[in-house]
């Protein structure tokens, strides 16, 4: 059952002059009825189906029209109240808490724009308690939160000195549960701390290239199945500091519209021309590729030096998985290069945790640049790039990071080495393997249950990132608070991280979650969902028999 989302739809809709939205699905509220028939159909339609070795089920249910209208009204009301409050602040009726410019510098040009400020002051500030919640324990399956309270509607926080214990953690990217303070990883990292200290105080090219760094890179290369790899101290910087080394003036970068800020920044810093294709939409990508090659560079019509496609394995706000088999087919057909950011997918996908390439049963050699981070599945920090030896050699000599940035902290390196060995089974246990299995099962179970409850869930069935739609701005804060009241920590996101009406909650499933924890979380989500009327879905999913753990998700890939 390969759902090729709107791939087939798109052409006909585009011909009708309707703007296709994400995944080629038409976001037109007037046609939602018609849309449903279509969507049900595409669940069974196969497009490029032969490229996929496993079912690819991904859905983005249409926003119900009423909800969309109410959401806009919500923003309208909040904006009106915002202006009202600003007016009152102006006339000193309401106390103003905003940090002010220094008297001496009042006549300087203002440091930031007023609109950014309006949104922050009047909307974000009211529900600010849902973010930056300080924690004071391991970010494992459960964590302890530092309790804080506010007497002035979140302008300032006071720490009450109490700790909210054992909150179920559905927020951290701890996919394989390696965020631990005991066990093999923590012990090894502890030993290294005592021996080496935490800093390095030099760069890789000067005096900061330790044998441990090289060991990590060799291990990462063998884990990824590539010739060579290089590690960097920060995941964000891995993108933003290495893309400029790979592309420059006269090159074209094709970037998915929902790519992470670091990829966007890297592309911008490179000085290449950037064109954006619709999220995970292969028609859009192919059209850009064809036109780009046929027409060459703008104005001069010189042929492009090279074309680099930037995509992510799992999109962290959508929960979608890249259509990698199709991307690879396209990149081969048009001789483009592929840069794959596996920040969320490495460790979290594939029967051996080797990411989206393994998930689809593809050859890592077909991806030119394999990028990923150590922050998530490995419970550490930093990022890597893997690929052919000539690529990595080039980066060793030209990466901004290797030359100007301090090398990775050694306890962090040790954490990665130990956890990676565990995932690979090199530690002589099956812990890693069972965690991968566990994560896959947890993911499928959690997603299925949420859908059955009637929530709108975005993304791929196998993605451990589970976005659940909230839509209305007031529900962002309400959901975050109500969940915390019931001792569950969730992430809620709104504009500008998402489109304005698509505010959502995001759950990150971990291998560390037990079935009891997930069930408890699901019960609470359902309860809060009823309270806040979040069960928007109009797809009827019949609750199947509750047998979550008897089928393995990776059946067909098992050796």
């Amino acid at each position: 059952m390969t759902e090729s989302a709107g791939n087939k739809n798109e052409d006909c809709h585009a011909a009708n002059g309707v703007k296709p939205g994400r995944n080629g699905m038409v976001k037109n509220h007037h046609h939602h009825h018609h849309q449903y028939q279509k969507q049900d159909k595409v669940y069974h339609a196969a497009c490029n189906g032969e490229l996929y070795s496993r079912p690819f089920i991904e859905s983005f249910e249409e926003t119900p029209m009423l909800v969309a209208v109410l959401t806009y009204m919500g923003y309208g009301i909040l904006t009106i109240f915002g202006y009202l409050r600003d007016f009152m602040r102006e006339w000193k009726i309401e106390k103003c808490h905003i940090a002010r410019e220094r008297e001496e510098q009042k006549d300087f040009v203002s440091l930031y724009q007023d609109f950014e400020n309006f949104y922050t002051r009047n909307l974000y500030m009211r529900i600010r308690d849902s973010w930056n919640r300080p924690i004071c324990s391991v970010p494992g399956a459960t964590f302890d939160l530092v309790e804080r309270s506010s007497n002035d509607y979140n302008w300032t926080f006071e720490y009450t000195g109490r700790v909210v214990k054992d909150v179920i953690n559905l927020g951290s990217y701890n996919y394989l549960g390696f965020a631990e303070n005991t066990g093999a990883c923590a012990t090894a990292a502890g030993e290294v701390t005592v021996k080496f200290g935490v800093g390095v105080a030099s760069t890789r090219q000067e005096m900061g290239n330790l044998d441990k760094h090289e060991e990590l890179e060799k291990l990462a290369a063998s884990f990824l199945g590539v010739e060579s790899a290089m590690a960097f101290g920060m995941g964000f910087a891995t993108n933003s500091m290495n893309i400029p080394a790979l592309a420059g003036k006269g090159c074209l970068i094709l970037s998915d519209e929902l790519n992470h800020a670091s990829l966007v920044l890297g592309a911008r810093l490179s000085g290449s021309t950037i064109r954006v294709f619709k999220h995970n939409n292969m028609q859009s990508l192919e059209k850009l590729l064809r036109d780009a090659i046929a027409h060459g560079q703008p104005r001069t019509h010189r042929p492009w030096k090279k074309i680099l496609i930037l995509v992510e394995g799992i999109y962290s706000m959508e929960g979608s998985i890249i259509r990698l088999p199709e991307v690879i087919a396209l990149k081969k057909k048009y001789k483009a290069y592929l840069y794959l950011d596996e920040a969320h997918s490495i460790g979290a996908l594939g029967p051996n945790g080797r990411g989206v390439v393994e998930y689809f049963g593809l050859d890592p050699k077909d991806v030119d640049v394999m990028m990923g981070t150590f922050t998530k599945s490995f419970g550490a920090a930093g990022g890597y790039i893997g690929g052919r030896k000539d690529l990595i050699d080039y980066l060793r000599t030209h990466s901004h990071s290797a030359i100007y940035a301090t090398s990775m902290s050694l306890p962090v390196v040790e954490q990665i080495i130990t956890s990676m060995k565990c995932i690979m089974g090199k530690d002589g246990t099956t812990i890693g393997r069972s965690r991968i299995q566990r994560l896959a099962e947890n993911t499928v179970y959690f997603r299925r249950r949420l859908r059955e409850m009637g929530f709108i869930i975005y993304g791929n069935n196998d993605s451990p990132v589970v976005p659940m739609m909230l839509y209305m701005p007031a529900k962002i804060g309400a959901f975050g608070r109500e969940m915390l009241k019931r001792n569950i920590g969730v992430v809620v996101v709104g504009f500008p991280a998402t489109p304005i009406i698509e505010s959502r909650a995001r759950f990150c499933i971990s291998a560390a979650h037990t079935k009891e924890m997930l069930d408890r979380a699901l019960d609470v989500i359902s309860e809060v969902g009823d309270l806040l009327q979040l069960k928007y879905s109009r797809h009827k999913v019949l609750p199947s028999l509750d047998r979550p753990f008897d089928e393995t998700t990776y059946e067909e890939n098992e050796e």
Binding site: V146, S172, V198, S202, R290, R396, S409
Partner: protein, 485 residues
Amino acid sequence: MKHAHAQSRDSVKMAAGQQWVLVEMVQAFYEAPAYHLILEGILILWIIRLLFSKTYKLQERSDLTEKEKEELIEEWQPEPLVPPVSKDHPSLNYDVVTGPPSHKIIVNGKECINFASFNFLGLLDSERVKLKALLSLKKYGVGTCGPRGFYGTFDVHLELEERLAKFMRTEEAIIYSYGFATIASAIPAYSKRGDIIFVDEAACFSIQKGLQASRSFVKHFKHNDMEDLERLLKEQEIEDQKNPRKARVIRRFIVVEGLYINTADICPLPDLVKLKYKYKVRIFLEESMSFGVLGEHGRGVTEHFGVNIDDIDLISANMENALASIGGFCCGRSFVIDHQRLSGQGYCFSASLPPMLASAAIEALNIMEEDPGIFRVLQDKCKHVHKALQGTPGLKVVGEPLAPALHLQLENSTGSRTNDLKLLRAIVDYSMDRQIALTLARYLEKEERFLPPPSIRVVVTVEQTQEEIERAAQCIREAAVKILK
């Protein structure tokens, strides 16, 4: 009440009037001659066409047939993803350090005294710092598994921010998980397209990246040349007078380093502050080399000159040199710093600093606060090294006596950068054979805006003894005599 009634009656009348006009229009439509209708019809269609057609199509201007397109696609040959790197590229084969990168360091299998790592205060080797890091590891694990916004804020992060703000005597501090990303994220958080940044030519690479990311208008002034800066500021003033309305929305910044990593000299901060108020430009100060080095209490270049820290809009520094941990921070007034919590890309979109590294930084701050004498010791050592290196034949010392990281440049260049680098590398190798670990200063030659001349970096730390410094200076002298004949 009466008034309202009258009003509503008026509106009824008006509605009736409008209706009448409509009827008339329909009648006129029937009576109009056919050619008139056709003409109007064509005009309406034309208007619709104009409304809906794109004014120009960037991509599809030339009319290629599908076949031609296929041929073009078939013919196109891209450049390789990366150009080949020769096996003996000078920066391909890194020196390998085994064991801790501390005062005594094993480089390529040889134990040396470290004159290369920016471990100015020797805190990398501190048992106290290691112990605190270990305790933190046992409490929090290693990674944070999230950005600050999404459960990546730990109590130690808040503590470190508070401590840094207190140490620097500013209102607020914000920490980043990567030193390089600190100033590179801070600049574009404030300076946007259309704004103007005045920057010193010798500014380090992370500042250059920040400028690039901001897409602002960048004006370079000669290194530490206040006259040149004032000239640029005056030019801008004249420009502003021409268009005062535009001038009111252009933000202006001066971006400088406290102690330049590339030239090892100190910026004339008091003069900069004068210019700041004269021309209403904000100052961003990058202090990675001067934080924990200059000043009586290690507060950096503001303390060194006795400048009021509130006169500097933003100070940024990394925690990877003097503090010997990882990451960076910005500090200043809350009005300025708080803005980064939503706009600093490297802050919002990156996983937060591992808590054990934050704990290590806190302990390092403790040590610095408990024993401010350490800065005096460092400053004396710096002066000592500076003096000891004077008069090395064929090499000149670049940098101020107070700088903890000096550059040794060739007095007479061979004329080719590659050959210069080879000569300097030979000196480094010679010293390394004699237990003095040095390193070349590395740059991306094609990317640096103003590429500094090749040099050997000499780093001073408090752990180096009198005798070791003499030995190092002696060794470099010998090498220079031998190699630079």
